[in-house]
């Protein structure tokens, strides 16, 4: 395939949105208030919408009559490139908001850079999505503060979530071979350069939320290389169920 790096680069971005959107989709009708249910569904919808744009573009590059659905549903677990952070389970609402916030801060920085991509399609997708992502960040950041600075119970729960999820943040800034190639060409974002600003912003919100900054310097990585957590297989079993069970049909 020509443009293999671009193809892989796009999948990396798309998979993050797909998998996070899928996780949020599990919660629909099970949230703590009707308002959070609506907002969570809305964010899920935005993310699914975004990943469709990416997959459609990747499918065009791939050729072979591939469709967005082939890419979203018919790869093997080891071929999904999303970061470990977004596949983490909905343990409780603190995890849901913590995961969202830790991703959103990255996501907005990423989209802001992607706006400048020499690839017009990617720049256009970023332009379309950036307002959504900025809303996501405000929503999740507000909830991190509310839970962190709410009751003793909510503070403990939010702290637990931040401590657990923190370990997946560093991977956001790893550069795969495709990332490096695309950054060098001015198409992709050099995410390694976002790291300091990310930790600065995240730390400020965490402190404002009356939470302790996690001290651990150990981080877990693997998703970008397709080595996922044990949660991922179950998520994919559901995600892919229809496409695997009824192959080659239209819906």
């Amino acid at each position: 395939m020509k443009n293999e790096n671009l193809y892989n680069y796009i999948l990396g971005i798309a998979d993050n949105s797909l998998i996070l959107g899928q996780r949020l989709g599990e919660l629909c009708g099970h949230g703590p208030t009707l308002e959070t249910d609506i907002a969570g569904t809305n964010i899920s919808l935005d993310l699914i919408g975004q990943c469709r744009n990416y997959y459609q573009y990747a499918a065009k590059i791939k050729g072979e009559e591939k469709t967005e659905d082939d890419l979203a549903f018919l790869r093997l677990e080891r071929e999904y490139k999303n970061v470990l952070l977004v596949e983490q389970p909905n343990t409780h609402f603190g995890y849901v908001m913590g995961r969202q916030f830790l991703f959103d801060v990255y996501h907005l920085m990423f989209m802001t850079e992607l706006l400048k991509s020499k690839d017009e399609t990617l720049a256009a997708i970023a332009k379309k999505g950036i307002k959504e992502v900025s809303y996501h960040k405000r929503f999740s950041g507000d909830w991190v503060k509310r839970l962190g600075d709410g009751t003793d119970e909510s503070n403990a729960k939010m702290q637990e979530a931040i401590d657990d999820l923190w370990t997946y943040t560093d991977e956001l800034f790893d550069m795969t071979a495709a990332d490096k190639a695309m950054a060098a060409e001015g198409i992709g974002v050099d995410v390694s350069k976002l790291k300091d600003a990310y930790y600065k912003e995240v730390s400020e919100v965490i402190q404002e939320a009356n939470l302790k900054l996690p001290e651990s310097k150990y981080f877990i990585r693997g998703g970008k290389k397709g080595v996922h957590s044990e949660h991922m297989g179950y998520l994919l079993a559901d995600l892919q169920y229809m496409q695997r069970t009824y192959p080659n049909m239209e819906w």
């Binding site: 899928q22 989709g25 599990e26 629909c28 009708g29 099970h30 949230g31 703590p32 208030t33 009707l34 308002e35 959070t36 249910d37 609506i38 569904t41 809305n42 899920s44 919808l45 699914i48 919408g49 990943c51 469709r52 997959y55 967005e68 659905d69 979203a72 549903f73 409780h92 609402f93 503060k145 509310r146 839970l147 600075d149 709410g150 009751t151 119970e153 909510s154 729960k157 998520l235 559901d238 995600l239 169920y241 229809m242 496409q243 009824y246 049909m249 239209e250 819906w251």
Partner: protein, 318 residues
Amino acid sequence: MSNEQIKNLEEIFEARIARDEKIEPKDWMPEKYRQTHIRQMSQHAHSEIVGMLPEGNWITRAPSLRRKAALLAKVQDEAGHGLYLYSACETLGVSRDELYEQLHSGKAKYSSIFNYPTVTWADMGAIGWLVDGAAIINQVPLCNTSFGPYARAMVRVCKEESFHQRQGFEIMLKLCNGTPEQKEMAQDALNRWWWPSLMMLGPTDAESVHTEQSMKWKLKRKSNDELRQQFIDQTVPQADILGLTIPDPDLKWNESKGSYDFGEIDWDEFWQVVKGHGPCNKQRMKARVDAWENGAWVRDAAMAYAEKNEAKKFKKAI
């Protein structure tokens, strides 16, 4: 107030309704009117939020990204409908927490149809096509009901429901134009949802309560049996377009009355489900109660945070 004064107010009130004026929350209204509206609107709101569950069941397994997005949007709309309707209830002086309490304790009802399981993807089509179809037939007349907030909520709800109904039909159409497995899936969904959809229009007129009063207040404009007939007459030709067979051997066109005759509804099943013993009653209620109980700490936190911030603002101000 003396009985006479009340009677006087009631007469003015009924006259306003008769003139098709809208009653607004701050207007005087008979206690029974208030209670009836709280009951009906909250039942409708509960149906929307319980109704999120059978469809929510397929979000993670939707067969394409396009369908996943559409399903998310649909379920989100339902949550939105719940929200307007709870708000409309609140204008009558009942809190959302009280209404939830009624739902969770089993005191309040919701539409029985949501106590059936969604077992295949085609059920997403059948629910849109049939369940939303029946819902619209129930709801369109309510766009002109006497209580203003309810009437206005229903205008918006009906517009969205009608979009959902077309979307459901389109899912069915795609299946029916697809592979034999897909068509079979569509037929199977119709087989399972047909009779419960007919039951959605309510018990036969002979068994129905509240009807006369509801007619006067424009909470009801046709009887259950009339609505059911309307639903059948409208849906059978749609099934023909799909090439699906309505699972009723007694269904046939009656030239003389200009509508369809249809078979006996299994009212025992209807009452079993209404009384809480349907396939998913317990599961639905458990899902709602779990969501509510597991979310208590979140709501408490939000409240505590808001209070602290009020206090901070106040401190800054002085």
